[in-house]
């Protein structure tokens, strides 16, 4: 039952915030913060309590499971389950949700209640995505988390250029993800009906559908349907157009959520659904996916260097980082997949940090255009120091979580695809270039405009410190994370090793 509460708490909290606006502007903020911390505390307790050893065959691989019939006609049921990977991502959602609430404490002034409603609905939807195991339920949450994010960007975003682009950016974000989501729905339905024709049993459950052997020509298209849906959200290069606009226009809280969690739902989706459901096709598709990952790394980096708007730059860096994750997922090595999971967590911390900092910069100098920034190191007391740390993290400085993630990915992928790793390592140099460019243009160089600005207050300092401590902690001691997700990464890696008897082995794993 805890799983249901994990999803319901953000939704109820959101409604409460909306109504709490009547009691004053601070009430919704405290309620939202309390809700998200509640979710975080629950997930941490679950983490401490649960054992994540590799499941012996027989007992199920899920730490917690809860299923109840929903639409018997189609065999759809509300099937929630929690394992190492989803637990970490739920905890991450709780943590980043609390951060998002904190960082928009002063930024959002008008209609605070409704803002927090949207914010908490996004988080509720995301927690739903991480817990849902029934394909229909997964799709439902997948589409549902878009609506509040759309409103967040469209109504509270700040747009540099004329007002209209804010809504256009939000609409583009929505349509990109929704349309590709529909492709996934078509793939899910096709899978269900193929299973139905094979076994006469109509069901949307993940475990049941894993075993279906889909006739060859169709299977590739279904795998592609899943892949495109997750590729748009990851984002993978040809479909990345929406991310920079969405980030540039979104409020800080929106960007933190968007970069921190929404991108991870795509990677989670790939690990949970795209790979296990279509092992042979994914293995055959791996070279293409890896090339797309490489293009993502290089293209994202080159574009990041050319940006004027600070948030667009950070957005493109996310594209580059996610290129690594894509390579890892399709490399088929357990080390790489573990690395990808660590990289996801690390990227969440570092990009959230950078976005919060750009938000704080915006609060002080009311612009995101780097051409009007410079020499801020001496003007703002502590912020540049933190920016340097997060810039170091984003370029993969050892002792930060990004380094651990990226290098595990590269170590893991090297045996199976050395050329890919060599090109990806060029990405490391480019990462150094765009990260330091961010540092140069904003904090170093001559002062664009004189006059000291106020330093971070306790709230901002606390946020930055916790993020930094977490990044360094995971960077130096990632073992707890690795143990939790070991049970997830191993079977996914096995899928790739030999295409032949995959279905059989996949069948008896669960």
């Amino acid at each position: 039952m805890i799983l249901v509460w994990l999803i319901l708490i953000p939704f109820l909290g959101g409604l409460l915030c909306w109504q709490a606006e009547r009691w004053g502007e601070q009430a919704p903020r405290w309620i939202a913060l309390a809700t998200m911390l509640f979710v975080l505390v629950i997930s941490v307790l679950l983490w401490l309590g649960g054992n994540f050893s590799l499941p012996g065959n027989g007992e199920s691989q899920w730490l917690l499971e809860w299923r109840v019939d929903w639409i018997p006609r189609f065999g759809i049921e509300i099937h929630l389950a929690l394992d190492g990977l989803s637990l970490i991502l739920v905890a991450l959602t709780g943590f980043l949700g609390a951060l998002a609430v904190l960082c928009s404490w002063h930024e959002i002034a008008h209609r605070v209640g409704f803002f927090h409603l949207n914010l908490l609905f996004i988080l509720g939807g995301v927690v739903g995505v991480f817990l849902a195991l029934d394909l229909f339920l997964f799709f439902l949450f997948w589409e549902m988390m878009l609506v509040p994010m759309y409103f967040l960007i469209a109504l509270w975003g700040h747009s540099g250029s004329p007002g209209q682009t804010r809504i256009r950016a939000a609409t583009r974000f929505f349509i990109y993800t929704q349309a590709s989501g529909l492709l996934m729905l078509v793939a899910i339905l096709a899978l269900v009906f193929v299973h139905y024709s094979n076994t006469g049993e109509l069901s949307f459950s993940y475990d049941v559908l894993r075993g279906t052997d889909v006739p060859e020509p169709l299977a590739f298209w279904l795998m592609l349907g899943f892949f495109i849906a997750f590729a748009v959200k990851l984002p993978v290069v040809p479909f990345h157009g929406w991310l920079p606009d969405a980030h540039a226009q979104a409020p800080t809280a929106g960007s933190v959520d968007l970069a921190g969690i929404l991108l991870k739902t795509a990677a989670y989706g790939m690990i949970r659904f795209a790979l296990p459901l279509f092992p042979e096709q994914s293995a055959a598709f791996a070279p293409v996916a890896m090339t797309l990952g490489l293009v993502g790394i290089i293209y994202g980096a080159v574009l990041a260097c050319g940006q004027q708007d600070i948030k667009r730059l950070i957005a493109y860096t996310s594209i580059s980082h996610m290129g690594f994750v894509l390579i890892a997922l399709y490399s088929g090595s357990e080390l790489a997949i573990q690395g990808a999971i660590i990289l996801m967590v690390a990227h969440a911390f570092s990009s959230a940090g950078l976005f919060i900092l750009s938000g704080q910069l915006y609060e002080r100098i009311h612009t995101r255009d780097m051409r009007t920034m410079g020499g801020l190191w001496s003007r703002i007391p502590v912020l540049p120091g933190f920016t340097l740390c997060f810039v170091a993290a984003s370029l993969g400085m050892p002792a930060t979580a990004n380094f651990v993630g990226e290098f595990m990915v590269l170590f893991g992928t090297f045996p199976s695809a050395p050329v890919v790793v060599v090109i990806a390592s060029v990405g490391l140099v480019l990462a150094a270039i765009y990260s330091l460019l961010l540092m140069q243009r904003v904090h170093y160089g001559p002062e664009y405009r004189p006059g000291p600005l106020k330093g971070p207050d306790a709230r901002e300092y606390g946020m930055m410190l916790t993020l930094l401590v977490l990044t360094i902690a995971v960077g130096l001691y990632p073992q707890p994370l690795l143990d939790t997700t070991a049970a997830v990464a191993a079977p996914v890696a096995e899928l790739f090793t030999d295409g032949a008897d995959l279905a059989a082995r996949a069948g008896e794993v669960n």
Partner: protein, 622 residues
Amino acid sequence: MMVTPVVLSFLFPLMGTLILAFSAGRLGPRASSVIGVGSVGLAALATLWAVMGHGGGTEGVTLWTWIAVGDFQPTIGLAVDGLALVMMSVITGVGFLIHLFAAWYMTGEAGITRFYAWMNLFVFSMMLLVLGDNLLLLFLGWEGVGLCSYGLIGYYYQGLDNARAAFKAFVVTRIGDVFLALGLFLIFMELGTLDIATVLARAPELWAEGSATANLAALLVLGGALGKSAQVPLHTWLPDAMAGPTPVSALIHAATMVTAGVYLIARLNGLFLLAPDVMLLVGVIGAVSLLLAAFAALAQTDIKRVLAYSTMSQIGYMFFALGVGAFDAAIFHLVTHAFFKALLFLSAGAVIISCHHEQDMGKLGGLWRKLPVAYGGFVVGGAALVALPLVSAGFFSKDEILWQAMAAERTGLLIAGLLGAVLTGIYTVRLILGTFHGEPGSDHARHPEPGTSVFTHHLPLVVLAVLSTFIGAWIYPGLGGLFPEAPGDTVETGHTLLQVLAMGAAIAGLALAGWLFLMRRSWLDNITDKGAGAGLWKLWHHAWGFDALFDRALVRPWQWSVRMLRFDFINLFMNLPALIARAFNAGLVRSQNGRTRSYAVVMVFGTTVILLALALAPGGGA
């Protein structure tokens, strides 16, 4: 036992950095310099204690396993052996003196806390690099050192070119780091471990000598070393790195960071022995950078850039030694070089501060009476640099390298080494004469304010001066046991001949320079003004045009592509469906013209089309 001192030796700088970084302006300049210098001092003491307690062999201690996934198990573990101890003592010893001098150098500068935070972080990373028992931890130190050099070169961040120099330094070293990373991936794939000891043990079993993988691995490690030690292909960042404060140049670009590459190759000597032609390549690169830097140093006007190129050429000597297999000689030269190059840089720093940040030789001159300590430091340092026979430390170490080259029958390299020695003599004399003798070029130089404080100014210079003499050569404990026997150890013939040759080269260099600069100054000036001479002088001034080459070959195309791609092309074709929809919308909306009769016409048209299709359909639409 060994653990506590070793762990303490790198914990102190870490504590220093944390205190300074999180003090957020509460510490004044005095307090922060005390903490900064103190922490490195304590580290030096801890190292001393470790050296005393060290009974030979390697003692390892593992703090915790960093990552454990399948057989990828890098640990945060320290391995202390003779090599590590030598390096530690250089880092903390020379480092402490430089920190001490920096207290004097940085008086009156803004942001001293930030300076010492970076310096301590640098010392901490360097200690990690040296102590790391597995390649991943070494890589951690390796990158940490790069980050600190970025921070310190870009210390005067208001100047855009300082920031750009720091950026260039980091990016070029990062390229080297990527080669090293690839080397690591290859080693892990082939040997299944990253632990240095096991790598050195397994490599000979799994790889045949001269096999492709051995060559590739050695080549990649060499690439990493070149980046960090500023050797020929990846050296363009070192001269620009002089934009940082002089103690930084002393610590990073003379004593410690640039020697990291030498340490790495020395540490992985087993790997290189398996790839003889890569060993030769190391020697050749050493020789080439040696000569290139020496020539470039001849044509510099800024005293720090002369010293920078001289560092590059001296490291070229170390690579030269590694190339011929004389690992011990290379480390010996590393140690002595740390002493006299730090001395030279600090003396230069003293001169610069005294003449109000004046670095151009043309504007200096006639200072030798006014800045006696600095002048003394320059002379002693210069002597060691030129390897003045018998009296200077440089003589013993450089002579050892040349001897090893001769013993290994690398005559080509030997000749390059000797020519380098002559050139070194020339540019050193030019540097000393230009800076201290002749007429003062500017009013700063006419009345400099010499550094007066004994503790922070005189003490470091004097101590380093003493170490630059033959005493420095005695202190070196000799790491014979650690490394495979060098070519020179077994062969004896020709040793004396070489010593004579080396001494002759050094003295010839000095004599030639003295004659040229004292007697023939006017003849020299007009040669460098016209035609071929001027062209040559300009070529050497710009270090054989490598900077321009890289700029045109790499930097400009990169900037062009960034500008071209600023507008997101791939994204354009994702807007296609939107444009098509917009076009269709415009077309269809025109059909809604509001007139009932035109609606009827469209309806009838639709029906007739369907009926026609029916009529034409094959088999009457059955």
